[in-house]
Amino acid sequence: MASTTHGGSGLEMSKIRLATLWNPKTNCVHIDDDPYSPEPQYGPIVMDLDSYSATALAGNSKTASTAPLHQVFYNVKDEEYGINALDDSNDYYDGIANSRAASTKEEQLYKAETLMANKKFRNFQSLLAIADSIIYEQSRSKAGAIITSLDYTAFQETPTLGANVETNIRTGVLAGLFQTVAMPVLTGKWISAFANDLKYYRNLMETETPVPSKGTGSTTTVNIQKHGGAVAITQRAQAVINNDNPFQRLVTQMGQKKLFDENDMIADVIEGVTATTYAGVDFGLRAGTPPLSSTNPVDFLATTISTFEGLSQNINLFVSRGLAYTEYIFNDIVRGGALAGNPLPPQVNINEQVSAFPGLDGVRWARDNAITSLTAGWAMNDNAIKLFRGPSRNYTIADEDIETTKYVTKNYFLPTLVDSTLIYKVTGITA
């Protein structure tokens, strides 16, 4: 239907063009075919479908209805503008109620037919049919028995999807630097020194034979201690922890922890050397603009060579934190000058690495941050330290009675400084 507000193109009916008028207050189209007619004719009404529901209409009780009937059927708030909306709506609703309230089916049908035959309500009826179909569709979409996340909670579990990488236990490189001495018993002697006091005589007299001369020797007593760790778990814990295997994981890590601790013990022995010492140079010291290395490590190298050349064995090992090595190889003088284009020295991870000492043939430089000193390194012959190792025992014991499984590792281990003359603390190599 074509319409305009307050007069417009009009309604075409059997080639008779009727003037139409839509009243927004009543929501009705007025067919103004007779300008002299005292009362306008009424066209189709617009029903308020949102207000129409079986619940709001409350069955047979008009007073119990929460939806004003004239709003449902006429879509107007008030009775006005010439339409007795309230009366018409009530009549129609009463007709429905009368039909429902009939005592027999025949009477019910008769009353319903009477109501439906009344042309006055024809517009209501067609619109009600539409409303019924819409409400039916809406009721279907509001299914009340959908399974939500709050159902079946007993069957919901939270699986472990993955894990962040655990911080690795650093096992160090120090244990591989020194000779391991197996201990058949837990106490033994290590010959720390032989010394001779041999005499050689010059210009002996005829028939004279030289008198004998001799020497001395000293030993260090080694007593190795027992170290160990254990992991235990109850059977119930194993049965209920289904997203992890903490026992097996921690047993594996206990092996790494043992290596870490043994490496740490070796670091303690190295760092315990403070009696024999000489000063190095700060490899990383820089000055000027742009900053360039202001120290020459050759002084340190010369001191090192001269320090060891009088000893029983030459230097073959240097131990420090990784930073000292980095600063040494990036020292502009070691690199051959900080010229543009001077290639950087090849480098990999500097911690827990062992490689040749640049500038000292036959010397390895072991970097291990188990060394706590931030300024010193230790120059040595690796025979200065021995690693004494006794029996190791690793076992898993299951006690059915107290429902516990326990992994145990026990180890006899002792790093010892056996020749204190072969190791020097070099101070001030980093700042």
């Binding site: 006690d399 009675d401 107290i402 516990t404």
Partner: protein, 155 residues
């Protein structure tokens, strides 16, 4: 990663028959709202009723610790298991300073504190991982998980 106090308290120290079995004692508990006693908390037994409850400063009677073992007691329970026999070792929360070997008694909230005199119901042994010659015990501070041994002394 170092375990927190909450993760440690109530854990029996040794995977031994004593700490995991023999030293555990069954007892009575009041039931009702908020009557559950958390693991790791010190409890005391009222002699007249035989009921265990969370200890506080000045509690008297036998003392023990709720172990971190299944099943933990809940509000509705009228019974519980408590680690109560002398010699057992367990972690509890300290609420004072303590030197290794210090005698301890109960404190507010089921914690322990060093005694100012007299006998103690617990002995402070150190922290987790301490107690050997190579890893000697260090002084305890409030809020830490303390490794303690039950003395069997009745407060």
């Amino acid at each position: 990663m170092v375990q927190t106090t909450a993760e440690l308290i109530g854990t029996p120290v040794h995977a031994s028959d004593w700490d995991l079995n023999d030293a555990l004692e069954g007892g009575k508990k009041a039931s009702g709202g908020s009557s559950a006693i958390a693991v790791g908390r010190v409890v005391f037994e009222t002699h007249a009723t035989g009921i265990w409850a969370i200890a506080t400063a000045g509690s008297t009677g036998r003392m023990g610790v709720i172990p971190k073992l299944h099943p933990a007691n809940v509000d509705a329970d009228t019974a519980l298991k408590v680690l109560a026999r002398a010699g057992a070792e367990i972690f509890v929360e300290g609420n004072s300073a303590a030197k290794p070997g210090a005698l301890l008694t109960s404190d507010t909230g089921g914690k322990v504190k060093a005694t100012t005199g007299g006998a103690g119901q617990f002995i402070y042994l150190g922290h987790d991982g301490e107690g050997t010659i190579g890893n000697p015990p260090t002084d305890g501070a409030a809020g830490e998980a303390w490794r303690v041994r039950l003395t069997g002394v009745v407060a």
